[in-house]
């Protein structure tokens, strides 16, 4: 089974915060990590490969330093890594990103399955996975929480819904987005780390993937950001005082409107 896993390099959530003085993202010492959901997508791909044979290619779009997450993916069991990187991609929204990834997938060639994380923790949109499937004209299933059966040609899985889950079947090729209940990602093995160290990656530009310049980056994006601002402040921390009994008394008073 040929599997492509889309992964994104994102700032580590615990480091990202807005500087209240300057109203900008404090960026001192912000670490970059592989998007957490994508780690589960990668793990599932490696498990399917171990079960059914085949190979796993990881695909990322981002600045040159995003090869770090490709390297990490190799250490966790991926076979190949491809990065699409070009200044012309700057300002891409989810439509332009889906288009760019679809072009890159065509360049990679045949595949049976594409796995993506449900969403990236920096953008939280959950739009690129379905968008990529539409661009490739293949069926997609979002929020997969369990793969029940997999053969080289068909998958049966559980997709998370708000009120439970649906059991669905789909024939390959297909695209799945996954949630973290799916599996427990492995830690890299020593052998994997050695392989990652030596790995080399294809870096593809807009021209390499044959992208139409009106469909990528800012010009290719139907949505545009017109303003960025901090959320309204929540006010001062208000810790109640007095004996526990008194504090609870006060709290119940304050919450009366909700009771």
């Amino acid at each position: 089974m040929k599997i492509i896993v889309c992964i994104k390099q994102v700032p580590d959530a615990k480091d990202v915060r807005l500087d209240p003085e300057t109203n900008t993202l404090a960026r001192e010492g912000v670490q970059s990590i592989m998007n957490p959901y994508d780690q589960h997508a990668l793990e599932e791909a490696v498990r399917l490969k171990e079960q059914l044979g085949g190979e796993v290619t990881v695909l990322s779009m981002g600045p040159p330093q995003a090869v770090d997450v490709l390297r990490q993916a190799i250490s966790c069991g991926a076979d190949h890594g491809v990065l699409v990187s070009d200044r012309a991609f700057a300002g891409a929204d989810t439509w332009a990103t889906s288009y760019t990834l679809a072009k890159a997938v065509h360049k990679i060639g045949d595949f049976d399955l594409i796995l993506c994380g449900k969403q990236a923790i920096d953008g939280d949109t959950a739009q690129v996975g379905p968008g990529l499937a539409i661009q490739l004209d293949i069926p997609f299933v979002t929020c997969v929480q369990k793969v029940r059966e997999a053969s080289g040609t068909e998958l049966v899985m559980e997709r998370m819904m708000d009120d439970g889950y649906d059991v669905v079947a789909v024939s390959c090729p297909a695209l799945l987005t996954v949630v973290k209940d799916l599996n427990e990602p492995r830690v890299p093995s020593l052998k994997g780390k050695m392989k990652a160290k030596k790995a080399e990656f294809k870096i593809l530009s807009a021209e390499d993937i044959g992208a139409d310049s009106s469909c990528i980056g800012l010009p290719g994006s139907p949505t545009q950001v017109v303003d960025v601002f901090p959320p309204p402040p929540r006010g001062e921390r208000a810790i109640l005082t007095g004996s526990i009994e008194e504090q609870i008394e006060q709290l119940v008073e304050k919450l009366a409107v909700y009771l």
């Binding site: 600045p63 949505t223 119940v252």
Partner: protein, 397 residues
């Protein structure tokens, strides 16, 4: 691409300070742009000497933007019921439609929808497009997506709203992508821009640490998903008049490659925490599954639902659908009571938009108190039983 005119740039650094993404740095007296640039344009506005500009061709503007008219709401219907967010969106859509002077339409897709269409009219819709077909009993991205896409192409609404639910967040991105339309996820605020009637879509980014306002300048429809509990539904008005239009789906739309074998409604804790007004959330501070029972009791005492931090879900005390935070659900209830939750940014990202936040924790330095409106420092096992009995007493009286 962001262009810096090195002749004009005076190296003042104002742009550097204005960049939310850390993509500009002043090097040797001149601004230098890195790959982190998202072309948001904040720096261009901030530059007093006009040394910065964004170049590289605007997306070709659709020639007929004005021929797209009307506000639409996709009204989710599943397992015999309308999702509450559908009615909230009709409330929001009504305001947008009135501001634009256009009609508000609802799209109802499903099987055996009963009186749902009438209900949608009573809550603000002028027209309901009803696609009621047995083949649509189960949701699939393909069938629901094809039906909605065909309708949008036929009627050309300027705005399409949908709930940011499991269903909305799954198939709406596919619809937007196939239409080439702009879609903004998880909006918390929607307005009409006075000068050109464009939809201003505001959403949290970076886990709620920053808000962004987004427009779709050159394409239609303008599409948004909106979180449950953010917008206000209109009261049901039986006297409201509207038109119900039954639409027969194209048989080709009903052919899907994904087959639903079974739809399992969760028996235990069958509640969508995103739709609850009151959430009581427990964290590691409850010590054990037994301790976590206090959370269930407190929630029951105030007719709330149970939520949890990641640690609790990982420990198996409650299922993943109850997890709040960056890798769980984002919630915005009227009241959120966090018990024994330290308040790591990953958790706070999922609940900081709640109307009122109460934190109970034994560590007074826990960051959860920074977002709390009311906090109590102390032992969970002393506080919670007392609180439960006080609330029961108050509600009983």
């Amino acid at each position: 691409m962001l262009i810096v005119d090195s002749e004009l740039c005076i190296g003042c650094g104002v742009c550097e300070d204005n960049c939310a993404f850390g993509a500009i740095e002043v090097v040797d007296g001149c601004a230098v742009v890195s790959d982190a640039c998202t072309l948001c344009g904040s720096c261009v506005d901030s530059c007093e000497v006009e040394a910065l500009k964004i170049e590289g061709g605007e997306k070709s503007v659709q020639v007929d933007l004005d021929s797209w008219k009307g506000v639409w709401v996709y009204c989710e219907f599943r397992a015999g019921a309308l999702a509450p967010v559908s009615l909230e969106l009709l409330g929001a859509g009504r305001k947008l439609a009135d501001a634009r002077g256009v009609p508000l339409s609802a799209v109802l897709i499903g099987a055996d929808t009963g009186e749902s269409a009438e209900k949608l009219i009573g809550h603000g819709a002028d027209t309901v497009y009803r696609i009621d077909n047995q083949a649509l009993t189960y949701f699939t991205d393909e069938s629901y997506g094809a039906v909605l896409t065909d309708l949008i192409k036929a009627h050309k609404p300027e705005i399409v709203l949908a709930g940011a639910t499991a269903i909305g967040r799954s198939f709406i991105p596919g619809v937007a992508n196939s239409l080439g339309a702009g879609l903004t996820a998880d909006c918390t605020q929607l307005d009409i821009r006075a000068d050109d009637g464009a939809l201003l879509q505001t959403r949290p980014a970076f886990g709620g640490n920053i808000m962004a306002t987004i427009v779709c300048p050159s394409s239609r429809p303008q599409m948004s998903t909106v979180r449950p509990k953010v917008m206000q539904a209109l009261d049901f008005d039986e006297a409201r008049q509207g038109e119900i239009v039954d639409v027969a789906p194209d048989p080709a739309s009903l052919q899907t490659k994904v087959r639903v074998l079974e739809s399992v409604i969760s028996e235990q804790d069958n509640v969508n925490i995103q739709e609850s007004d009151i959430l009581v959330a427990g964290g590691r501070g409850l010590d054990s599954e037994k301790g976590f029972k206090l959370i269930r009791e407190l929630a029951a005492s105030m007719d709330g639902a149970v939520a949890a931090s990641r640690a609790v879900v990982d420990a198996g005390w409650i299922g993943y659908p109850h997890q709040v935070g960056q890798t769980g659900k984002t919630v915005a209830p009227k009241l959120y009571i966090a018990c024994g939750i330290s308040g790591a940014i990953q958790h706070v990202a999922g609940m900081q938009s709640s109307e009122t936040i109460v934190a109970i924790n034994r560590d007074e330095d826990a960051p959860i108190f920074d977002v709390a409106d009311f906090g109590i420092v102390g032992d969970m096992f002393e506080i919670l039983p007392l609180l439960i009995s006080k609330i029961e007493g108050k509600r009983g009286s």
